[in-house]
Symmetry: C2
Subunit: 458 residues, 2 copies
């Protein structure tokens, strides 16, 4: 009798084109969760995934409604004692594609150029969801699967998963599992399989500043009112000192400092200054004084201006004093910062610093704490072994700068650890124009997932 693992791998290799075609069909649907313009595309994507699960023989497949976009769920349960359960997490929403004029290929027309597939969501994370589905299809093709498998694919990750914790609380029995497989984290490089054990959290705000009641002529009124753009600029400029440290009151009080061992581990990563210079194309790196770039990303909190808008920004000139200004401001948080506490710190800063010449308003938009997962969990070791089989090297265990709030929520609400991995690369332009997926890495990822199921299962 053939080893089912080999049967599954053979099936995967024979069906590589079908797997890719399915991924393309997903990328074609503009499932942008951030605006209400794409409601139909969101629903179409969720239904597409549900149909795919039904086609694989999954049971209890359904779109579970939330206040926002539905969660797709389905399960494949083998009625055998001792079978462990893997809950595969994914999200089917993508970032907005704007600015559209910077895309070399249309964002929602997946285009293969040499070894890469270009399109919004190709890497983050329709590619990862499709890889998981492909691996599961191959495993099911080889007979009874070595583990029970559940899929939970949400539609609001790119807007901070505002309704997921409630969904987890309401459906804890349905979601029960031994481990979460979360492939929303990437690799350091195509030849560096990576397991992520720490993630930064997020707190995202919109700050609005109001000055005069209406736009004013800068000649007739310039010099007697506090320009709200300038007032906003002054407030934001005061949020960092010249060493790149953040000046919100008490911001670093609950930051867990990296241990000497962690800093030594980080120093061994291939993420040098040159790596970040190449990845970003910035004229020169910047960051909090006293920390290496990799430490800044993995272990230090940030405060970023994600957007700012005021007044006349079109072609030409307009001599206006704007009546309002706004900025999108977000912080990446590290353990043990609390998004609610950061919200209070920002309010406190504004109360202390905002002048009486303007009015301000702060809107909280999204947030989630940082998270750690156990790198010695049996599933993490099974994944490590799977990756070593495919890439010929033990994966790198790393701290990541991004935020996956679901990891902390899975721990807190369901008590389930996550194995965090994925087959995207730093140069995939996620959240930016020309997002792409490196297909050879993606195919290796499918093989690694197949090995993972057999390594972890009975």
């Amino acid at each position: 009798m053939t080893d089912p693992r080999n049967t599954a791998l053979s099936y995967a290799h024979q069906n590589s084109q079908a797997f890719l075609d399915y991924l393309k069909s997903l990328v074609q649907i503009p499932s942008v969760s951030t605006s209400s313009d794409h409601a139909k595309a969101m629903k179409d994507t969720a239904e597409n995934l549900a149909n795919r699960l039904r086609g694989l023989g999954f049971s209890n497949v359904a779109l579970h409604p939330t206040v926002g976009h539905p969660v797709v769920f389905g399960e494949y349960i083998v009625n055998q004692p001792g079978h462990k359960t893997v809950l595969i997490y994914g999200h089917y929403d993508v970032q907005p594609a704007e600015p559209l004029d910077l895309w070399k290929t249309p964002p929602f027309e997946p285009t293969q150029i040499n070894e890469n597939l270009f399109g919004r969501g190709a890497s983050d994370m329709k590619g990862q969801v499709a890889a998981s589905l492909a691996a599961v299809e191959a495993v099911l093709q080889a007979g009874e699967p070595p583990v029970n498998i559940k899929f939970m694919i949400e539609g609001e990750e790119e807007i901070g998963s505002p309704n997921l914790s409630q969904f987890l609380r309401a459906n804890a029995p349905m979601l029960a599992a031994d481990v979460v497989l979360n492939p929303d984290s990437g690799m350091l490089a195509a030849d560096f399989p990576t397991l992520t054990y720490a993630l930064r959290g997020l707190a995202y705000f919109e700050l609005r500043v109001y000055g005069p009641e209406h736009d004013l002529h800068s000649g007739l009124f310039g010099g007697v009112v506090h320009n709200p753009a300038q007032a906003l600029i002054e407030l934001i400029a005061g949020m960092h000192d010249t060493d790149g440290r953040i000046l919100l009151p008490g911001y670093y009080d609950s930051v867990r400092e990296m241990s000497a061992e962690e800093r030594a581990d980080i120093a061994r990563l291939p993420m040098t200054e040159d790596f970040y210079k190449t990845q970003t194309g910035a004229p020169q790196l910047w960051g909090e004084k006293g920390f290496t770039p990799a430490e800044c990303i993995g272990g230090r909190p940030t405060l970023e201006v994600n957007g700012i808008l005021s007044g006349f920004t079109g072609h030409g000139s307009k001599t206006v004093i704007p009546s309002w200004a706004m900025a999108k401001i977000s912080m990446r948080l590290v353990p043990d910062q609390d998004p609610e506490e950061v919200h209070r710190q920002l309010i406190q800063y504004l109360e202390q610093k905002a002048p009486a010449t303007i009015r301000w308003e702060l809107i909280k938009m999204a947030g989630g704490p940082a998270s750690f997962t156990d790198p010695n969990h049996p599933a993490a070791l099974a994944m490590s072994q799977a990756m070593e089989t495919i890439w010929g090297m033990r994966p790198v265990f790393k701290r990541e700068g991004g935020s996956i709030p679901i990891v902390a929520e899975m721990q807190e609400i369901l008590g389930i650890e996550s194995v965090l991995t994925g087959f995207g690369l730093p140069e995939d332009n996620v959240h930016a124009p020309n997002e792409k997926l490196h297909l050879p890495t993606w195919y290796r990822g499918i093989d690694a997932l197949i090995h993972f199921f057999y390594n972890y299962g009975i």
Copy 2:
């Protein structure tokens, strides 16, 4: 024989509705000069004005092409010795109407509500051009006019009149006159007829800051690159100190300080703190320490952010580090500041302060020096007397915060002084949504202009 002055006034009163209808026909045309989207409207407006002049019996009526929008010219010359010539300046372009959602009536559908006519350009300055044409029509109706009249109406005032000085140089003989009547300056209030003798200049720039080569994910890269929005913010924040003074190197070196007499004159104006609070609706006034609001407007230079844009500014949240940021920055200048010198000061500031973590680019967009005119010119006295006849009080002589570069150019290039007046009010929302014209003041203005021609003429 009836006094022609009274005939003209009677004619004006009998034709008030026709004058208003003509103004409405002008406001209907969206002659926005700042973008190329309105090229046809610009041409239509110029032709409309030329036809109006032809209808009044003007000669040599023509649209004089420039690199940008044409200048409308026409003249009515009486072949009598000793006749003085008044060159009436106007502009037919208007500010962009954006933001459109803040207009209570459509900007290019002139709408009368009680005593006001709402519409873009109703006050600045189609209303003033139409008042001048109405007064001239009335004067011509009463027989031979007391002065020769020339009209020069440009189409690029709202973009800084980039081609006007060349037009003046090329057409000096055609434009020869004893005085320029420039009704592009307003009144302090409906019961305060006003003659303006000083104007601020303007220097307008776009500052662009470039950081990473493309937008970055704020999780994957936040903390190692200098966010260009933040870098731009830091640069702009450093341009003022906490006393509202501008920190460009040498910025105040050539500022002509107001004399004690001027400051005493300004103190007598009705432009109190309360006046500016009411006009602007700002929570609290702001300004350069050591100067009253009226002094700040009339005699002190400014630096304003007219617009700023970077990153994601739509609805919702996007965790992006933008790759670039830009701001429109302009200065209102006072005598004896030189726009070119200010340009150099801004470059010097940026060279000193811009960090190596970003690249920057400064684009000069418009500029003109401040100007003074002679308040004792015979034409100024004729206008003062005309206003006193209509309003029953001598007009206020004031310094204004706005810029009318043409006033300085008329002095420098053609050697002609300007009488600066106009019948717009501070609450007209010029350069803002819901621009309007106060019609009772406008009709008084037409009468005052009729008196002016007879007072000044023979």
